[in-house]
């Protein structure tokens, strides 16, 4: 240490006065508010909370409930003003507790309670109700309204998930504003007027929004309740922990709530860089799948009678001997490990370490439905970067369907005018109507569309006008990734400074790919091909269900048949799990602690809230125990996972071992609820040559993508959500129906070179002519599997549509 005089403190200049500070007087005390800050927000920040109902910091203030009236003097004497509508100004004097302000606040509470049914004892909101709390804190303490109250039928369903009690409603405009401003689904609005004003859907138009659960959370009374939680618990009986939703890779912060050791509700937490407090309905309500009776409670081993429950010793022993036998007979290349993206970082890390120990060449956290791993090595953008970029290029899936809250953030960026969206898509997406340019291309030719767009003068000018974020993912499961990779490369050639936000879907796919479950030469398609060819002895599925998730289902079927043994680590008996020789019962979300990594590389915590079902164990524990039974092929002495006993040990091992995670310590995570960013690898995109087959005029080019609700376990095992999946269907432009010679809803045959499936045809204006779009992994009451047609080896797939 050299002798350096630290003179920074001595000569430190006076701190610059904050240019955004506004000096105001709040209840007699001088405070420093922020420029542009609303009086209500400034007062709340400085310990003088003002009662309010309609004001919500994430929505435009409307000043409707009049509850937040305070006295404000801006130089013209004290005047009653709604504090949610007034921004602070220099030398403003605010009195939130003057007799006049208190009289007004008491008066508003009295009026709001006048027609409120006061059925608090049977109201789900009772105990956590802003109206109840604020009536207690700011109300007159007496009810003088002796007239008959308003009566409505109660409650009425306004969607499959949400019920509305109009008697309890205080008409604060929060749900209706949310539906309009945030979700963009303006399906609820005020009807009638005056004292009969009520929130209502349009006739025969349910509030079918992917985000309807948020209205329940922000409702300041018990007017909106959600079917999955109604009458399940009292708020004071709920135990809760802050966690992160792992339904998709956005990583929304949540509070996981339970009562009697059963998950009952997830609530969104306002994480400024991620979800702003919002959740999608799938993420919010899929706790039902955790509580499902279909959960695997104990490990299962295949006997002559089928899969039979057994003890962990037996099951792990059976699994270990399958692996050891395979290693002895066929070596490491006879074992494949797929999955790991549905668990925590700890789960993925432990399984990645096990894969390393076994030294298998076949491992992948994606199931042939993602993008090449190199995408993660491009200069990464954060969600905030994307939501504030001058230009956002969308080169991937329909974000509303796959990463719903990212859709909300980008929609807000577009609607508020911050960002211009340039979209490349084969069909209309949720963001198309907000896009500055929405460029349609034939499925599989996005590279040509991008080449055309960057040559366009106006688009080139826009791309040069400021920062550019490319949001990229897998647009269609019926095409190879080549076209997307080539399109991405062309974009990066045109805008070398652009950053990339990978729109990969699975909850912890980025974590799994960063922690050892990334392919090391061979990806899932290779593994499946090998298995189908009969060279794989043991196929390990870590929360993976290829029969539902692998796009080319025929290959998946062949692979699961061709693999001599299957070990499945899973929470539910999925179609793939039912083919396994050994099933190891895995703890589900909420039943295990750990960390997760979102698509930005942001690591946040996942809470252990309820006891695992039966004897189910976290994936990491299964991997570690399995390793201990593998002898020489397990974790040797000195291995970071050799001595772990708790999940915290694994987290520490990740920090110590994983090259991208050095800063992601438990202390750092505890200090930052919004998460800790991982380091980023650097990689270049693989060179691809795209050759799209020519098409004839009789065929329709196929594009297949996921919808929010499908047959995935989280949805199918959640009774409230299962019915919301649209069902398998072939969507064509309505003008094409006549060409096919059918009406909307007729069962048609889709004939490809590979297979023929039948399903109903649907006229859909979002699909351009000559294209057929089919939702992936759907219920099949009325039709077959579109997955039968998908060919993992094809760049593009054409189908003929005929009447059946």
């Amino acid at each position: 240490m050299t002798d350096v005089v630290d003179d920074t403190t001595a000569s430190a200049p006076e701190p610059e006065p904050d240019p955004d500070a506004v000096a105001v007087t709040l209840n007699g005390t001088a405070i420093s508010a922020r420029k542009g800050e609303l009086v209500i927000a400034a007062a709340e920040r400085h310990g003088a909370p003002i009662p309010h109902f309609c004001y919500h910091p994430r929505m435009t203030p409307v000043g409707m409930c009049r509850q937040c009236l305070v006295e404000v003097d801006t130089g013209r004497g004290m005047q009653l003003q709604p504090s949610c509508m007034i921004t602070v100004s220099p030398d403003m004097v605010i009195d939130t507790e003057s007799p006049t302000a208190k009289r007004a606040q008491e008066g508003m509470i009295e009026l709001l309670l006048a027609n409120h049914p006061l059925d608090c004892p049977v109201c789900d909101k009772g105990g956590e109700c802003p109206l109840q709390d604020q009536a207690y804190a700011h109300g007159p303490g007496e009810s003088r309204f002796v007239e008959e109250k308003r009566h409505y039928e109660k409650p009425i369903p306004i969607s499959d998930l949400v019920l509305l009690d109009r008697e309890r409603c205080i008409l604060c405009d929060r749900c209706t504003r949310f539906a309009d401003e945030i979700a963009g689904d303006k399906l609820i609005h005020f009807t009638q007027r005056g004292n009969e004003t009520q929130v209502m859907t349009f006739p025969d138009e349910p509030f079918a929004s992917y985000f309807s659960g948020n209205t329940v959370q922000i409702c300041p009374v018990g007017a909106l309740t959600a079917e999955p939680y109604r009458f399940k618990a009292r708020p004071w009986d709920l135990d809760q922990r802050e966690s992160t939703c792992t339904t998709c890779a956005v990583g929304c912060r949540t509070v996981v709530q339970s009562s009697r050791d059963e998950l009952l509700r997830y609530q969104g937490v306002d994480s400024d860089p991620v979800n702003h407090g919002w959740l999608c309905d799938r993420g919010r309500f899929n706790f039902e799948a955790v509580n499902s009776a279909e959960r695997i409670a104990d490990p299962l081993v295949r006997t002559a009678a089928g899969l039979e429950p057994t003890r962990w010793n037996g099951a792990l022993g059976a699994a270990a001997s399958l692996i050891n036998d395979a290693l002895a007979k066929g070596g490491p290349s006879s074992i494949a490990i797929l999955g790991g993206a549905r668990g925590t970082n700890e789960d993925a890390f432990a399984w990645g370490q096990l894969a390393d120990a076994i030294d298998t060449p076949y491992r992948d956290a994606q199931l042939g439905d993602g993008l090449p791993i190199e995408v993660l090595g491009l200069k990464r953008a954060t969600i905030d970067d994307a939501a504030n970029a001058a230009t956002v290029v969308l080169l991937g899936p329909d974000l509303k369907e796959e990463l719903p809250v990212l859709y909300l953030r980008l929609r807000d960026a577009a609607v508020s005018g911050r960002s211009k969206l340039v979209e490349f898509s084969a069909v209309d997406t949720g963001l198309s109507r907000h896009a500055w340019r929405s460029i349609r291309h034939e499925p599989g030719t996005q590279h040509d569309a991008v080449a055309g767009a960057v040559a366009d003068e106006a688009i080139a000018e826009q791309l040069a006008a400021g920062d550019v974020v490319i949001v990229t993912g897998r647009q269609s499961l019926a095409e190879s990734t080549d076209a997307t990779v080539a399109a991405l490369q062309r974009l990066l050639d045109a805008v070398p400074d652009a950053t990339v936000l990978p729109a990969l879907r699975r909850g912890n796919v980025v974590g799994a790919l960063s922690l050892g479950m990334a392919p090391t030469g061979y990806d899932a398609i290779d593994a499946m091909t090998e298995a189908a060819a009969g060279t794989i002895d043991v196929l390990v599925l870590v929360g993976a269900d290829p029969l539902n998730d692998f796009p080319d289902v025929e290959l998946a079927r062949d692979a699961l048949t061709g693999a001599r043994h299957i070990i499945s680590v899973d929470t539910h008996l999925s179609e793939s799990t039912q083919l396994a020789d050994v099933v190891l019962a895995a703890a589900a979300y909420g039943e295990k602690a750990g960390t997760t990594t979102n698509l930005e590389g942001r690591v946040t915590t996942v809470a252990h809230q309820v006891t695992a079902t039966g004897t189910a164990r976290p994936d990491w524990m299964i991997a570690v125990e399995l390793a201990s039974l593998l002898g020489d092929h397990g974790f040797g002495d000195g291995h970071p996972l050799a001595e772990v006993t708790t999940v915290d040990d694994v987290t520490d091992a990740i920090v110590a071992t994983a090259p991208l995670f050095p800063g992601v310590t438990r202390a750092a995570l505890a200090a930052s609820p919004d998460g800790v960013m991982t380091l980023q690898p650097a990689a270049a995109l693989p060179d691809v040559a795209v050759s799209v087959p020519a098409r004839n005029r009789y065929d329709y080019r196929l594009t297949v993508s996921r919808t929010l609700y499908d047959r995935a376990v989280g949805t199918a095992m959640s009774p409230s959500l299962a019915g919301l999946a649209p069902g398998s269907a072939a969507h064509v432009n309505p003008l094409d129906l006549a060409g096919i010679g059918v009406d909307d809803g007729t069962i048609v045959q889709l004939i490809s070179a590979k297979a023929t499936v039948s399903m109903p045809v649907v006229g859909n204006v979002r699909v351009p002519r000559g294209v057929v779009w089919a939702p992936f992994n759907q219920r099949t009451e009325r039709g077959g599997h579109i997955e039968d047609i998908i060919d993992a080896g094809a760049t593009a797939i054409d189908v003929r549509i005929e009447r059946s």
Binding site: P82, R193, N195
Partner: protein, 477 residues
């Protein structure tokens, strides 16, 4: 036309009476075909526009400012000053004509639209020219079918004759006028609710502040909202100049004013009166106006400025029809509607009629109006039906306090020894509909307490034992 015809009733305009007074906006009403372009052009029509277009917009703006043309919609704000509030350089900018006249007792804009639509159109064009507005929306109340029809016909004529549209009268001044009719809501007479309605939204007022329509209005652009009668004054100002205009009326309230008189008078109807100097006594008792109370009864009270205004007593008969004077006396001129109640009037029932109207017309946006208005109505209904108690009367004052905190304006009464409380009131609502449900009821309660007292019975007393008494009795052990 001879003078003898000027004083007669014209059966094609029932309830309109021309007197021997200056006419600014009703000068063509004596012709049955006053609404045609032909008649309009024959009677100096569009001459004001021509003169206006010959000068600069600033000159015309200045002329209107000097003329002190006060807004005739209710607030009485000078139009020329309002025009000056639009921020420079923001385009497009709009003129919205508030033809949603629905204040109880008011029916003067309807006549102006039905009888002289071209005058209104000319006024719109002058306003657009002077204030630099690029498009005009004429919002006409949904129920006024004849007015809509006449304006539509007039607009077609004016477009065909080149008075509206591009390059008006061969100049480079271009303005489009769009006719739009409402769907029937009182609150849409409030300018921001009118803008919402025009945008296709529910007619609910916006909050001002932060944004006043002049800065952020229709489609988020600078918007001037003017009343029909205000604009109808402009052709006169443009043609005859501010000197001729200010020669009529008083310095603070120049020009004339359309006043609609209804209720217990011998001759209800619309009169164009000289602004500022005519007193309420003139209007109610004057031979050329309403000619006194029906059956020569005594006057009990009257509403000076539309249903939402606090009431006046006979004590205020000599108050001139002038904004500030009426305000000092405890009420407002509002939309220029005088409603007269004679000695036979059941005051609580009359108050109920008005309160019921405003409770029914509440848009439901803000709590005090939505809940308070209906609560007042139901308390009053009970009192009028004879089932009320004195506690109900006290409760009305409490609910009124929540809607209008602080002292409520009312007239003075020699009989009751009451001093006047000057206008305006304070309010916790977004717009004036909420206070409008309370103002007439408050006047009735304040000026005629005995009529309410006679209707109610004492409230049953609550039994409450003071805590100290309980403690003394050892009840806490």
């Amino acid at each position: 036309m001879t003078d003898s015809t000027r004083a007669v009733t014209h059966d094609y305009i029932p309830g309109f009476y021309i007197g021997d007074r200056p006419q600014v906006v009703t000068s063509r009403f004596e012709y049955e075909d006053s609404y045609t372009l032909e008649r309009f052009l024959a009677t100096d029509g569009y001459k004001g526009l021509e003169k206006c277009l010959a000068g600069t917009p600033a000159q015309m703006h200045e002329e209107v400012k000097v003329s002190t043309v006060l807004g005739r919609g209710g607030a009485g704000f000078p139009a020329g000053v309002k025009w000056g509030f639009t921020p420079a350089g923001v385009w497009p900018r709009y003129l919205v004509v508030n033809g949603d006249e629905s204040e109880p007792g008011t029916y003067k804009d309807r006549l102006l639209m039905e009888r002289d639509p071209h005058q209104l159109i000319e006024g719109c064009l002058i306003a657009c020219y002077a204030a630099g507005l690029s498009q005009c929306f004429l919002y006409v109340r949904g129920e006024m079918a004849l007015a809509q029809e006449r304006i539509a016909t007039a607009l077609n004529e004016a477009y065909a004759a080149g008075y509206v549209g591009t390059n008006i009268l061969g100049t480079d001044f271009s303005v489009d006028i769009v006719l739009h009719w409402g769907a029937g809501a009182y609150v849409v007479g409030e300018e921001t609710a009118l803008i919402e309605s025009l945008e296709g939204e529910r007619g609910m007022p916006r909050l001002k502040p932060p944004f006043f329509p002049a800065a952020v209005g229709l489609y988020g652009k600078p918007t001037i909202v003017n009343n029909v009668e205000t604009l109808a004054n402009l052709p006169f100002v443009a043609l005859n100049g501010s000197v001729a205009y200010t020669a009529i009326g008083t310095a603070t309230s120049p020009g004339t004013r359309m006043v609609a008189v209804s209720g217990h008078v011998k001759r209800p109807g619309v009169f164009e009166i000289v602004n500022g100097s005519t007193t309420f006594r003139d209007i109610i008792y004057g031979e050329e106006f309403s000619q006194g109370i029906r059956d020569d009864n005594d006057l009990k009270a009257f509403v000076p400025g539309g249903g939402s205004a606090p009431w006046f007593l006979p004590d205020q008969l000599d108050v001139p029809f002038e904004g500030r004077e009426a305000g000092t006396a405890g009420s407002m001129l509002g939309s220029g509607a005088v409603m007269v109640m004679d000695s036979t009037t059941d005051i609580p029932a009359a108050a109920l009629t008005l309160t019921k109207f405003y409770a029914h017309e509440s848009c439901g946006k803000c709590t005090p109006c939505r809940e308070g208005g209906t609560w007042l109505m139901r308390l009053l209904e009970r009192v009028v039906a004879g089932h009320g108690t004195d506690a109900d009367l006290a409760q009305m004052l409490e609910v009124g306090q929540t809607i209008c905190p602080g002292e409520m304006p009312h007239a003075s009464s020699e009989r009751l020894g009451l001093e006047a409380v000057p206008f305006p009131y304070k309010m916790t609502t977004i717009c004036f509909v909420g206070p409008s449900a309370w103002a007439p009821l408050h006047s009735a309660l304040t000026l005629f307490p005995e009529e309410f007292a006679a209707r109610v019975t004492p409230a049953p007393k609550r039994i409450s034992i003071p805590v100290t008494a309980l403690a003394a009795a050892g009840a806490d052990q």
